[in-house]
Amino acid sequence: MRSSADVVVIGGGVVGASIAYNLAKQGVKDVVLCEKDTFANGSTGRCGAGVREQWGSEGNIRICKASIDIFENLQEELDYDYDIEFVQKGYLMMAYTEKEWDQFQKNVEVQHRLGVNSILCTPEEAKEIVPVLNTEGMFGATYNARDGHANPFHTTNAYLKAFERLGGEVNDFTEVTGIEKRGDKVAKVKTTKGDISAPVVVNAAGPWAAPVGSMVGVELPVYTERHQILVTEAVGHLFDPMLMSFSLGIYCQQTPHGSLVMGIGDPNEPKGYDIGQSWQFLKKMSDVMCRLVPALKGVRVVRQWSGLYTISPDAHPILGTVPGVDGYYQAVGFSGHGFMLAPIVGKLISEMIVGKEPSIDISDLDLGRFERGDLRVEPSVV
Protein backbone atom coordinates (compact mmCIF):
# COMPACT_ATOMS: atom_id res chain seq x y z
CA MET A 1 0.00 0.00 0.00
CA ARG A 2 1.18 3.50 -0.83
CA SER A 3 2.30 5.58 2.14
CA SER A 4 1.32 8.89 0.59
CA ALA A 5 -1.33 10.05 -1.84
CA ASP A 6 -2.91 13.17 -3.29
CA VAL A 7 -6.35 11.98 -2.22
CA VAL A 8 -7.58 9.12 -0.02
CA VAL A 9 -11.15 7.98 -0.68
CA ILE A 10 -12.75 6.09 2.19
CA GLY A 11 -15.35 3.56 1.06
CA GLY A 12 -15.45 0.97 -1.73
CA GLY A 13 -19.14 1.28 -2.47
CA VAL A 14 -20.40 2.78 -5.69
CA VAL A 15 -20.08 6.36 -4.38
CA GLY A 16 -16.43 5.99 -3.34
CA ALA A 17 -15.66 4.08 -6.55
CA SER A 18 -17.23 6.80 -8.68
CA ILE A 19 -15.41 9.58 -6.84
CA ALA A 20 -12.06 7.75 -7.12
CA TYR A 21 -12.53 7.09 -10.83
CA ASN A 22 -13.61 10.66 -11.56
CA LEU A 23 -10.60 12.05 -9.69
CA ALA A 24 -8.26 9.89 -11.77
CA LYS A 25 -10.13 10.93 -14.90
CA GLN A 26 -9.67 14.61 -13.93
CA GLY A 27 -5.94 13.95 -13.89
CA VAL A 28 -5.28 13.48 -10.18
CA LYS A 29 -2.33 11.09 -10.30
CA ASP A 30 -2.15 9.55 -6.89
CA VAL A 31 -5.53 8.47 -5.57
CA VAL A 32 -5.88 5.66 -3.00
CA LEU A 33 -9.19 4.04 -2.07
CA CYS A 34 -9.59 2.21 1.23
CA GLU A 35 -12.40 -0.29 1.79
CA LYS A 36 -12.80 -2.13 5.08
CA ASP A 37 -14.24 -5.26 3.47
CA THR A 38 -14.60 -5.93 -0.26
CA PHE A 39 -16.18 -3.77 -2.97
CA ALA A 40 -19.93 -3.00 -2.75
CA ASN A 41 -20.18 -4.79 0.59
CA GLY A 42 -21.94 -2.04 2.56
CA SER A 43 -25.13 -0.58 1.14
CA THR A 44 -24.37 -0.68 -2.59
CA GLY A 45 -24.42 -4.44 -3.08
CA ARG A 46 -27.59 -4.77 -1.04
CA CYS A 47 -29.68 -2.16 -2.81
CA GLY A 48 -32.69 -2.28 -5.11
CA ALA A 49 -30.58 -0.73 -7.87
CA GLY A 50 -33.21 1.60 -9.31
CA VAL A 51 -32.32 4.75 -11.24
CA ARG A 52 -35.00 7.37 -11.83
CA GLU A 53 -35.50 10.99 -12.79
CA GLN A 54 -39.17 10.96 -11.74
CA TRP A 55 -38.83 13.16 -8.68
CA GLY A 56 -40.92 16.00 -7.34
CA SER A 57 -38.30 18.65 -6.55
CA GLU A 58 -36.33 20.52 -9.17
CA GLY A 59 -33.07 19.80 -7.39
CA ASN A 60 -33.60 16.05 -7.41
CA ILE A 61 -34.83 15.97 -11.00
CA ARG A 62 -31.79 17.92 -12.24
CA ILE A 63 -29.22 15.83 -10.44
CA CYS A 64 -30.84 12.46 -11.24
CA LYS A 65 -31.33 13.40 -14.89
CA ALA A 66 -27.61 14.16 -15.08
CA SER A 67 -26.84 10.82 -13.43
CA ILE A 68 -28.93 8.95 -16.01
CA ASP A 69 -27.07 10.82 -18.78
CA ILE A 70 -23.87 9.29 -17.38
CA PHE A 71 -25.38 5.83 -16.87
CA GLU A 72 -26.39 5.75 -20.54
CA ASN A 73 -22.75 5.79 -21.64
CA LEU A 74 -21.12 4.25 -18.58
CA GLN A 75 -20.47 0.80 -20.02
CA GLU A 76 -18.45 2.37 -22.85
CA GLU A 77 -16.85 5.08 -20.75
CA LEU A 78 -15.51 2.57 -18.23
CA ASP A 79 -14.57 0.09 -20.99
CA TYR A 80 -15.81 -2.73 -18.78
CA ASP A 81 -15.17 -6.41 -19.51
CA TYR A 82 -18.53 -7.54 -18.14
CA ASP A 83 -21.97 -5.91 -18.34
CA ILE A 84 -23.17 -3.28 -15.88
CA GLU A 85 -26.68 -4.35 -16.98
CA PHE A 86 -28.08 -0.86 -17.25
CA VAL A 87 -31.56 -1.12 -18.74
CA GLN A 88 -34.02 1.69 -19.33
CA LYS A 89 -37.42 0.12 -19.22
CA GLY A 90 -39.00 2.81 -17.11
CA TYR A 91 -40.50 3.25 -13.67
CA LEU A 92 -44.22 2.91 -13.12
CA MET A 93 -45.12 4.87 -10.00
CA MET A 94 -48.57 3.99 -8.77
CA ALA A 95 -50.88 6.23 -6.72
CA TYR A 96 -53.43 4.77 -4.34
CA THR A 97 -54.83 7.88 -2.66
CA GLU A 98 -56.27 11.05 -4.08
CA LYS A 99 -53.62 13.08 -2.29
CA GLU A 100 -50.85 10.99 -3.80
CA TRP A 101 -52.40 11.25 -7.25
CA ASP A 102 -52.63 15.06 -6.92
CA GLN A 103 -48.97 15.17 -5.96
CA PHE A 104 -47.98 12.96 -8.90
CA GLN A 105 -49.75 15.32 -11.30
CA LYS A 106 -47.84 18.26 -9.83
CA ASN A 107 -44.59 16.29 -10.06
CA VAL A 108 -45.15 15.58 -13.74
CA GLU A 109 -45.60 19.31 -14.41
CA VAL A 110 -42.23 20.04 -12.78
CA GLN A 111 -40.65 17.10 -14.60
CA HIS A 112 -41.93 18.34 -17.97
CA ARG A 113 -40.57 21.81 -17.31
CA LEU A 114 -37.13 20.26 -16.79
CA GLY A 115 -37.27 18.07 -19.87
CA VAL A 116 -38.32 14.75 -18.32
CA ASN A 117 -40.78 12.98 -20.62
CA SER A 118 -42.89 11.34 -17.94
CA ILE A 119 -46.55 10.58 -18.63
CA LEU A 120 -49.70 10.36 -16.53
CA CYS A 121 -51.52 7.04 -16.89
CA THR A 122 -55.03 5.94 -16.05
CA PRO A 123 -55.16 2.49 -14.40
CA GLU A 124 -56.11 1.10 -17.84
CA GLU A 125 -53.07 2.71 -19.44
CA ALA A 126 -50.87 1.39 -16.62
CA LYS A 127 -52.18 -2.07 -17.41
CA GLU A 128 -51.20 -1.62 -21.04
CA ILE A 129 -47.61 -0.98 -19.90
CA VAL A 130 -47.71 -3.87 -17.39
CA PRO A 131 -50.36 -6.37 -18.55
CA VAL A 132 -49.83 -8.64 -15.52
CA LEU A 133 -50.70 -5.79 -13.13
CA ASN A 134 -53.79 -5.86 -10.93
CA THR A 135 -54.89 -2.21 -10.93
CA GLU A 136 -57.58 -2.57 -8.27
CA GLY A 137 -57.69 0.48 -6.01
CA MET A 138 -55.24 2.44 -8.15
CA PHE A 139 -55.98 6.13 -8.81
CA GLY A 140 -53.44 6.42 -11.56
CA ALA A 141 -49.75 6.11 -12.26
CA THR A 142 -46.86 8.00 -13.78
CA TYR A 143 -44.40 6.40 -16.17
CA ASN A 144 -41.04 7.53 -17.45
CA ALA A 145 -39.32 5.35 -20.03
CA ARG A 146 -35.85 6.77 -19.36
CA ASP A 147 -35.75 5.43 -15.78
CA GLY A 148 -34.37 1.97 -15.13
CA HIS A 149 -31.91 -0.06 -13.14
CA ALA A 150 -28.37 -1.43 -13.27
CA ASN A 151 -26.33 -4.11 -11.54
CA PRO A 152 -24.75 -2.54 -8.42
CA PHE A 153 -21.90 -5.07 -8.17
CA HIS A 154 -20.87 -4.67 -11.77
CA THR A 155 -21.31 -0.88 -11.77
CA THR A 156 -19.02 -0.59 -8.74
CA ASN A 157 -16.52 -3.10 -10.11
CA ALA A 158 -16.50 -1.28 -13.46
CA TYR A 159 -15.63 2.00 -11.75
CA LEU A 160 -12.89 0.37 -9.67
CA LYS A 161 -11.29 -1.43 -12.61
CA ALA A 162 -11.29 1.78 -14.68
CA PHE A 163 -9.85 3.66 -11.69
CA GLU A 164 -7.02 1.13 -11.38
CA ARG A 165 -6.22 1.37 -15.10
CA LEU A 166 -5.82 5.14 -14.61
CA GLY A 167 -3.22 4.51 -11.91
CA GLY A 168 -5.41 4.44 -8.81
CA GLU A 169 -4.87 2.02 -5.95
CA VAL A 170 -7.71 0.01 -4.37
CA ASN A 171 -7.06 -1.50 -0.96
CA ASP A 172 -9.65 -3.95 0.30
CA PHE A 173 -9.78 -5.22 3.90
CA THR A 174 -8.24 -1.89 4.84
CA GLU A 175 -10.19 -0.16 7.56
CA VAL A 176 -9.60 3.49 8.33
CA THR A 177 -9.01 3.85 12.05
CA GLY A 178 -8.24 7.54 12.31
CA ILE A 179 -7.52 10.76 10.45
CA GLU A 180 -4.79 13.09 11.66
CA LYS A 181 -4.97 16.83 11.10
CA ARG A 182 -2.20 19.39 11.15
CA GLY A 183 -3.90 22.51 12.42
CA ASP A 184 -7.11 22.73 10.44
CA LYS A 185 -5.76 20.63 7.59
CA VAL A 186 -6.15 16.93 6.89
CA ALA A 187 -2.69 15.36 6.98
CA LYS A 188 -2.75 11.59 7.41
CA VAL A 189 -5.15 8.66 7.17
CA LYS A 190 -4.45 5.82 9.58
CA THR A 191 -5.56 2.34 8.52
CA THR A 192 -5.27 -1.25 9.68
CA LYS A 193 -2.66 -1.73 6.91
CA GLY A 194 -0.58 1.36 7.68
CA ASP A 195 -0.67 5.15 7.39
CA ILE A 196 -1.16 7.23 4.25
CA SER A 197 -0.08 10.88 4.24
CA ALA A 198 -2.58 12.87 2.19
CA PRO A 199 -3.77 16.48 2.05
CA VAL A 200 -7.27 15.46 0.89
CA VAL A 201 -9.60 12.80 2.26
CA VAL A 202 -13.08 11.91 1.02
CA ASN A 203 -15.66 10.38 3.32
CA ALA A 204 -17.76 8.01 1.19
CA ALA A 205 -18.17 5.47 3.96
CA GLY A 206 -21.92 4.91 3.55
CA PRO A 207 -23.35 3.51 6.80
CA TRP A 208 -20.04 4.25 8.52
CA ALA A 209 -20.01 7.91 7.43
CA ALA A 210 -20.72 9.24 10.93
CA PRO A 211 -17.81 7.43 12.65
CA VAL A 212 -15.48 8.51 9.81
CA GLY A 213 -16.72 12.11 10.05
CA SER A 214 -16.05 12.18 13.77
CA MET A 215 -12.40 11.30 13.05
CA VAL A 216 -11.98 14.90 11.84
CA GLY A 217 -14.43 16.35 14.36
CA VAL A 218 -17.38 16.54 11.95
CA GLU A 219 -20.60 15.42 13.60
CA LEU A 220 -22.97 14.13 10.94
CA PRO A 221 -26.69 14.22 11.73
CA VAL A 222 -27.36 10.83 10.11
CA TYR A 223 -28.63 7.49 11.36
CA THR A 224 -28.66 4.03 9.81
CA GLU A 225 -31.76 1.92 9.38
CA ARG A 226 -32.29 -1.60 8.12
CA HIS A 227 -34.22 -2.22 4.90
CA GLN A 228 -35.05 -5.74 3.77
CA ILE A 229 -35.05 -7.10 0.24
CA LEU A 230 -35.40 -10.42 -1.58
CA VAL A 231 -34.68 -12.02 -4.91
CA THR A 232 -36.64 -14.74 -6.68
CA GLU A 233 -35.63 -17.47 -9.07
CA ALA A 234 -35.24 -16.39 -12.70
CA VAL A 235 -38.48 -16.66 -14.64
CA GLY A 236 -39.62 -15.72 -18.12
CA HIS A 237 -40.44 -12.09 -18.90
CA LEU A 238 -43.15 -10.75 -16.61
CA PHE A 239 -42.94 -6.96 -16.98
CA ASP A 240 -40.60 -4.18 -18.06
CA PRO A 241 -40.62 -1.21 -15.66
CA MET A 242 -39.65 -0.90 -12.03
CA LEU A 243 -42.95 -0.98 -10.13
CA MET A 244 -43.11 1.46 -7.26
CA SER A 245 -45.72 2.66 -4.81
CA PHE A 246 -45.18 4.91 -1.83
CA SER A 247 -48.59 4.00 -0.33
CA LEU A 248 -47.83 0.29 -0.49
CA GLY A 249 -44.20 0.99 0.39
CA ILE A 250 -42.93 -1.32 -2.34
CA TYR A 251 -40.60 -1.47 -5.31
CA CYS A 252 -40.07 -4.44 -7.59
CA GLN A 253 -37.97 -4.93 -10.71
CA GLN A 254 -37.21 -7.83 -13.01
CA THR A 255 -33.49 -8.00 -13.71
CA PRO A 256 -32.11 -8.86 -17.17
CA HIS A 257 -31.27 -12.25 -15.66
CA GLY A 258 -35.00 -12.91 -15.10
CA SER A 259 -35.02 -12.86 -11.31
CA LEU A 260 -37.18 -10.32 -9.50
CA VAL A 261 -35.71 -8.04 -6.84
CA MET A 262 -38.12 -6.37 -4.45
CA GLY A 263 -38.38 -4.59 -1.13
CA ILE A 264 -41.07 -3.23 1.18
CA GLY A 265 -40.75 -0.51 3.78
CA ASP A 266 -41.48 -1.13 7.43
CA PRO A 267 -41.62 1.69 9.99
CA ASN A 268 -40.53 -0.74 12.70
CA GLU A 269 -37.19 -1.67 11.14
CA PRO A 270 -34.37 -1.34 13.68
CA LYS A 271 -31.98 1.59 13.62
CA GLY A 272 -28.29 0.85 13.94
CA TYR A 273 -26.21 -1.78 12.21
CA ASP A 274 -28.51 -4.82 12.30
CA ILE A 275 -28.55 -6.46 8.86
CA GLY A 276 -30.44 -9.61 9.75
CA GLN A 277 -33.66 -10.77 8.09
CA SER A 278 -37.18 -11.59 9.25
CA TRP A 279 -39.84 -14.03 8.03
CA GLN A 280 -42.39 -11.29 8.61
CA PHE A 281 -40.80 -9.42 5.73
CA LEU A 282 -41.17 -12.44 3.44
CA LYS A 283 -44.83 -12.72 4.37
CA LYS A 284 -45.65 -9.03 3.98
CA MET A 285 -43.69 -8.62 0.75
CA SER A 286 -45.28 -11.72 -0.80
CA ASP A 287 -48.73 -10.74 0.35
CA VAL A 288 -48.61 -7.26 -1.20
CA MET A 289 -46.83 -8.31 -4.41
CA CYS A 290 -49.03 -11.36 -5.09
CA ARG A 291 -52.06 -9.06 -4.98
CA LEU A 292 -50.38 -6.50 -7.25
CA VAL A 293 -48.97 -9.07 -9.68
CA PRO A 294 -50.89 -12.34 -9.18
CA ALA A 295 -48.52 -14.16 -11.56
CA LEU A 296 -45.89 -13.94 -8.80
CA LYS A 297 -47.74 -16.50 -6.67
CA GLY A 298 -45.92 -19.34 -8.39
CA VAL A 299 -42.49 -17.68 -8.36
CA ARG A 300 -40.08 -18.90 -5.71
CA VAL A 301 -38.08 -16.69 -3.36
CA VAL A 302 -34.45 -17.78 -3.50
CA ARG A 303 -32.77 -15.43 -1.06
CA GLN A 304 -33.48 -12.58 1.34
CA TRP A 305 -31.08 -10.11 2.89
CA SER A 306 -31.00 -6.56 4.16
CA GLY A 307 -28.92 -3.43 3.94
CA LEU A 308 -28.68 -0.06 5.60
CA TYR A 309 -30.07 3.30 4.58
CA THR A 310 -28.01 6.16 5.96
CA ILE A 311 -30.63 8.80 6.54
CA SER A 312 -30.13 12.54 6.86
CA PRO A 313 -32.64 14.93 8.48
CA ASP A 314 -34.17 15.90 5.10
CA ALA A 315 -33.52 12.55 3.37
CA HIS A 316 -31.10 14.18 0.92
CA PRO A 317 -27.36 13.53 0.70
CA ILE A 318 -24.80 15.71 2.44
CA LEU A 319 -22.16 16.72 -0.09
CA GLY A 320 -18.98 18.75 -0.27
CA THR A 321 -16.69 20.52 2.17
CA VAL A 322 -17.02 21.50 5.81
CA PRO A 323 -15.74 24.91 6.94
CA GLY A 324 -12.83 24.59 9.34
CA VAL A 325 -11.60 21.18 8.09
CA ASP A 326 -9.39 21.86 5.07
CA GLY A 327 -9.01 18.94 2.71
CA TYR A 328 -12.05 17.05 3.99
CA TYR A 329 -14.85 16.26 1.52
CA GLN A 330 -17.91 14.12 2.05
CA ALA A 331 -20.58 12.33 0.03
CA VAL A 332 -22.80 10.78 2.69
CA GLY A 333 -26.37 10.41 3.96
CA PHE A 334 -27.88 9.31 0.66
CA SER A 335 -31.01 8.09 2.47
CA GLY A 336 -31.54 5.13 0.14
CA HIS A 337 -30.63 6.81 -3.16
CA GLY A 338 -26.85 6.48 -3.32
CA PHE A 339 -26.74 4.07 -6.22
CA MET A 340 -28.65 6.25 -8.66
CA LEU A 341 -26.78 9.38 -7.60
CA ALA A 342 -23.26 7.92 -7.59
CA PRO A 343 -22.29 8.70 -11.21
CA ILE A 344 -23.10 12.40 -10.99
CA VAL A 345 -21.93 12.81 -7.39
CA GLY A 346 -18.56 11.28 -8.27
CA LYS A 347 -18.19 13.81 -11.06
CA LEU A 348 -19.24 16.79 -8.93
CA ILE A 349 -17.08 15.93 -5.90
CA SER A 350 -14.05 15.36 -8.13
CA GLU A 351 -14.63 18.75 -9.78
CA MET A 352 -14.72 20.40 -6.35
CA ILE A 353 -11.49 18.67 -5.30
CA VAL A 354 -9.54 19.76 -8.40
CA GLY A 355 -10.83 23.31 -7.93
CA LYS A 356 -13.30 23.46 -10.81
CA GLU A 357 -16.76 24.93 -10.59
CA PRO A 358 -19.08 21.89 -10.15
CA SER A 359 -21.11 21.38 -13.35
CA ILE A 360 -24.29 21.38 -11.26
CA ASP A 361 -24.60 23.71 -8.27
CA ILE A 362 -24.89 21.51 -5.18
CA SER A 363 -23.95 24.14 -2.63
CA ASP A 364 -27.39 23.75 -1.01
CA LEU A 365 -26.60 20.10 -0.21
CA ASP A 366 -23.84 21.03 2.23
CA LEU A 367 -23.78 20.11 5.92
CA GLY A 368 -24.40 23.75 6.87
CA ARG A 369 -28.00 23.61 5.60
CA PHE A 370 -29.15 21.93 8.80
CA GLU A 371 -27.81 24.79 10.91
CA ARG A 372 -29.27 27.37 8.51
CA GLY A 373 -32.63 25.59 8.68
CA ASP A 374 -32.53 25.39 4.90
CA LEU A 375 -33.76 21.81 4.57
CA ARG A 376 -34.45 20.31 1.16
CA VAL A 377 -38.01 19.18 0.49
CA GLU A 378 -38.89 16.25 -1.78
CA PRO A 379 -42.65 15.78 -2.22
CA SER A 380 -42.25 12.49 -4.05
CA VAL A 381 -41.31 10.50 -0.97
CA VAL A 382 -44.43 9.86 1.06
Binding site: A40, N157, T232, M285, D287, C290, L296, K297
Partner: protein, 109 residues
Protein backbone atom coordinates in the same frame (compact mmCIF):
# COMPACT_ATOMS: atom_id res chain seq x y z
CA UNK B 1 -5.65 -25.40 -18.49
CA UNK B 2 -7.13 -27.57 -21.22
CA UNK B 3 -10.14 -26.40 -23.17
CA UNK B 4 -12.27 -29.16 -21.68
CA UNK B 5 -11.36 -28.29 -18.14
CA UNK B 6 -12.22 -24.63 -18.77
CA UNK B 7 -15.72 -25.66 -19.87
CA UNK B 8 -16.57 -27.64 -16.74
CA UNK B 9 -19.72 -26.22 -15.16
CA UNK B 10 -18.98 -25.27 -11.55
CA UNK B 11 -22.26 -23.51 -10.67
CA UNK B 12 -25.01 -25.67 -12.12
CA UNK B 13 -27.83 -23.24 -11.28
CA UNK B 14 -26.31 -20.34 -13.18
CA UNK B 15 -24.20 -22.26 -15.74
CA UNK B 16 -20.90 -20.77 -14.62
CA UNK B 17 -17.78 -22.52 -15.89
CA UNK B 18 -14.45 -23.16 -14.24
CA UNK B 19 -12.90 -20.85 -16.84
CA UNK B 20 -15.16 -17.98 -15.78
CA UNK B 21 -14.40 -18.57 -12.09
CA UNK B 22 -10.65 -18.69 -12.71
CA UNK B 23 -10.76 -15.48 -14.76
CA UNK B 24 -12.33 -13.54 -11.86
CA UNK B 25 -9.80 -14.99 -9.42
CA UNK B 26 -6.95 -13.97 -11.74
CA UNK B 27 -8.48 -10.48 -11.87
CA UNK B 28 -8.11 -10.18 -8.11
CA UNK B 29 -11.07 -11.80 -6.34
CA UNK B 30 -9.91 -13.40 -3.10
CA UNK B 31 -13.27 -14.18 -1.45
CA UNK B 32 -16.36 -16.22 -2.31
CA UNK B 33 -18.44 -13.03 -2.18
CA UNK B 34 -16.39 -11.35 -4.88
CA UNK B 35 -16.58 -14.35 -7.20
CA UNK B 36 -20.32 -14.59 -6.56
CA UNK B 37 -20.94 -10.89 -7.16
CA UNK B 38 -19.17 -10.88 -10.50
CA UNK B 39 -20.06 -14.29 -11.93
CA UNK B 40 -23.35 -15.14 -10.14
CA UNK B 41 -21.85 -18.49 -9.02
CA UNK B 42 -23.81 -19.39 -5.88
CA UNK B 43 -26.69 -16.97 -6.52
CA UNK B 44 -29.04 -19.53 -8.04
CA UNK B 45 -31.82 -21.62 -6.51
CA UNK B 46 -29.43 -23.99 -4.64
CA UNK B 47 -27.59 -21.02 -3.08
CA UNK B 48 -24.15 -22.45 -3.72
CA UNK B 49 -24.63 -25.82 -2.09
CA UNK B 50 -22.56 -27.41 -4.84
CA UNK B 51 -20.26 -24.68 -6.07
CA UNK B 52 -19.37 -22.96 -2.82
CA UNK B 53 -16.65 -25.43 -1.85
CA UNK B 54 -15.44 -25.81 -5.42
CA UNK B 55 -14.99 -22.05 -5.76
CA UNK B 56 -13.30 -21.86 -2.36
CA UNK B 57 -10.94 -24.59 -3.53
CA UNK B 58 -10.08 -22.65 -6.68
CA UNK B 59 -9.34 -19.47 -4.70
CA UNK B 60 -7.27 -21.41 -2.17
CA UNK B 61 -5.35 -23.10 -4.95
CA UNK B 62 -4.62 -19.82 -6.72
CA UNK B 63 -3.52 -18.05 -3.52
CA UNK B 64 -1.63 -21.06 -2.18
CA UNK B 65 -3.63 -21.04 1.04
CA UNK B 66 -5.67 -23.72 2.83
CA UNK B 67 -9.40 -23.67 1.98
CA UNK B 68 -10.17 -22.96 5.65
CA UNK B 69 -8.58 -19.52 5.26
CA UNK B 70 -10.83 -18.49 2.37
CA UNK B 71 -13.53 -16.10 3.50
CA UNK B 72 -16.97 -17.69 3.14
CA UNK B 73 -20.08 -15.85 2.01
CA UNK B 74 -23.19 -15.63 4.18
CA UNK B 75 -25.82 -18.35 4.26
CA UNK B 76 -29.12 -16.60 3.64
CA UNK B 77 -32.71 -17.68 4.18
CA UNK B 78 -34.93 -19.27 3.00
CA UNK B 79 -33.35 -22.70 3.35
CA UNK B 80 -34.88 -23.73 0.04
CA UNK B 81 -36.85 -21.75 -2.55
CA UNK B 82 -40.44 -21.04 -1.47
CA UNK B 83 -43.29 -19.83 -3.67
CA UNK B 84 -44.45 -16.29 -2.97
CA UNK B 85 -48.04 -17.54 -3.05
CA UNK B 86 -47.25 -19.85 -0.12
CA UNK B 87 -45.37 -17.17 1.82
CA UNK B 88 -48.30 -14.78 1.37
CA UNK B 89 -50.55 -17.22 3.19
CA UNK B 90 -48.50 -17.66 6.33
CA UNK B 91 -50.83 -16.84 9.21
CA UNK B 92 -49.13 -14.37 11.52
CA UNK B 93 -50.66 -16.03 14.61
CA UNK B 94 -49.28 -19.56 14.49
CA UNK B 95 -46.78 -19.52 11.65
CA UNK B 96 -48.73 -22.26 9.83
CA UNK B 97 -48.95 -22.20 6.10
CA UNK B 98 -52.42 -23.24 4.96
CA UNK B 99 -54.47 -23.44 1.80
CA UNK B 100 -51.48 -23.51 -0.51
CA UNK B 101 -53.31 -23.32 -3.81
CA UNK B 102 -50.64 -21.58 -5.82
CA UNK B 103 -49.62 -24.68 -7.82
CA UNK B 104 -51.85 -23.74 -10.75
CA UNK B 105 -50.46 -20.27 -11.10
CA UNK B 106 -46.87 -21.13 -11.88
CA UNK B 107 -44.80 -19.05 -14.24
CA UNK B 108 -42.65 -20.73 -16.82
CA UNK B 109 -38.99 -20.49 -16.00
Amino acid sequence: MSKNEEDIIVCRCEDITLGEIRKVIREGATTLDEVKRITRAGMGPCQGRTCRLLVAGEIANYLGKPVSEILQSSYRPPFKPVKMGDLAQIHEGNGDCCDCDSEEEGVNS
